[in-house]
Symmetry: C2
Subunit: 242 residues, 2 copies
């Protein structure tokens, strides 16, 4: 017997991708509630259980947040609980506090080979580069260099960065409509160059964590590449394996 459906996709996954589409198109914005399970079931003409299963998967992927009795909400980087999902550094002595982001520079450039490859844009396409320092209780711990596709982040300036209260992903979300949903990090140990050493107030040549990150929005589209240098004298990068 010939196989009827070589690319069989269950109903709830089709519903899921429809909801995903609606999310990507901005039908509901980060922080807002999406329609109730019952409403979605009617809209997509499936049972509530099937709509539920689609939502379940998206909640497991941190795209949606369920709140019993209230509704289901589009995940947002404005939510303080989401903050440390993408910042895995914690103080050795355990006194966890929110860091302060200090933007240093923000300039325009054209994409080189590496930026072109990681951001999947043309060589020579406009990019924006941001340099900033992250301070914990006043002490510099991380220096970041952030590469962004210029087309998406038009209007991003040092002033915008300095004025904004909240995380940089929160800014991207509210001001540029770009929601970061997933990232890959490549971590290595490197020796501090002169400028980084000065910024982090460590000796030149001392070991630093180099954290290179590619960040993706809906549809696995890369929209940020960054390299962070982490001083791990009083902090460590925390990771959970399971």
């Amino acid at each position: 017997m010939a196989q009827e459906s070589p690319t069989f996709s269950p109903l709830y996954r089709q519903i899921k991708s429809l909801i995903l589409q609606a999310l990507a198109s901005g039908e509901w914005r980060p922080g807002e509630a999406i329609p109730s399970e019952a409403e979605l079931a009617v809209r997509f003409n499936v049972s509530q259980g099937t709509a539920r299963k689609a939502i379940d998967e998206m909640a497991a992927e941190n795209l949606l947040v369920r709140k019993q009795g209230k509704g289901t909400f589009v995940a947002s980087h404005n939510d303080p609980r989401a903050f440390f999902r993408f910042l895995r550094i914690v103080p050795i002595d355990g006194t966890l506090a929110f860091p302060q982001s200090v933007p240093l520079e923000c300039w325009r450039a054209k994409a080189g080979l590496e930026a072109s490859r990681t951001l999947q844009i043309a060589v020579g396409a406009p990019i924006i580069i941001v340099r900033r320092v992250l301070k914990f209780s006043g002490k510099p711990v991380v220096v970041d260099e952030i590469y962004l596709p210029g087309e998406i982040f038009q209007g991003l300036t040092l002033e915008v960065l300095q004025e904004y209260q909240g995380s940089i992903y929160s800014l991207f979300e509210t001001r540029f409509g770009v929601r970061m949903i997933r990232a890959e990090e490549h971590i290595r140990a490197v020796a501090a160059d002169r400028t980084s050493a000065e910024l982090l107030k460590v000796a030149e040549g001392s070991p630093l964590l180099s954290v290179e990150r590619t960040t993706y929005t809906y549809g696995d589209k890369p929209v940020e590449w960054r390299r962070g240098l982490y001083s791990t004298a009083e902090h460590y990068y925390h990771n959970e394996l399971s």
Copy 2:
């Protein structure tokens, strides 16, 4: 109205903890199939859907592995697909191959303060310390120092380590009945000391990744502590954020 169940726990979670108990007691061993959903439903006197939901959660936590048409199996470190779940280092040039573990030393000692704290055993309790090197295509990339509670790993010797084919967690599982299910890693950048530098064939003082790991078995019981020094000249530590 007084709240009826301040510690409300749904049925499927109770079932889950019963299955967990059976797993911890060794009723089914790693790699073996557990009873079918229908059988479990009968055994615990719930509907198949409820048994299913319990299993679903455990599969999501990598405790069980579902295989359509075949059954549900206890997760095992013998499964090669599970190998890189706990070893997050990959070559820069992408040619992923299985590393070779080279045990160097294995000796007995008594737990100091740090071992006592991380392994949750008494100070002075017997521990076993293993030193080994991990080689990728013949080149040393990681040097590990592994601390184990002596009581659990009685009979572990350098010979046992050298003879065994397969990952060390696979050995722990088959020879000592200890299954690792979760770990926390603290990652920092350090300068290579003399012995590590020699083993990894890098210059003394060059930056290395220090990966400290506490590993837990069922019931969140810590059963391993280790520090790995990773040479990241030709490899990086890979992490996914979501």
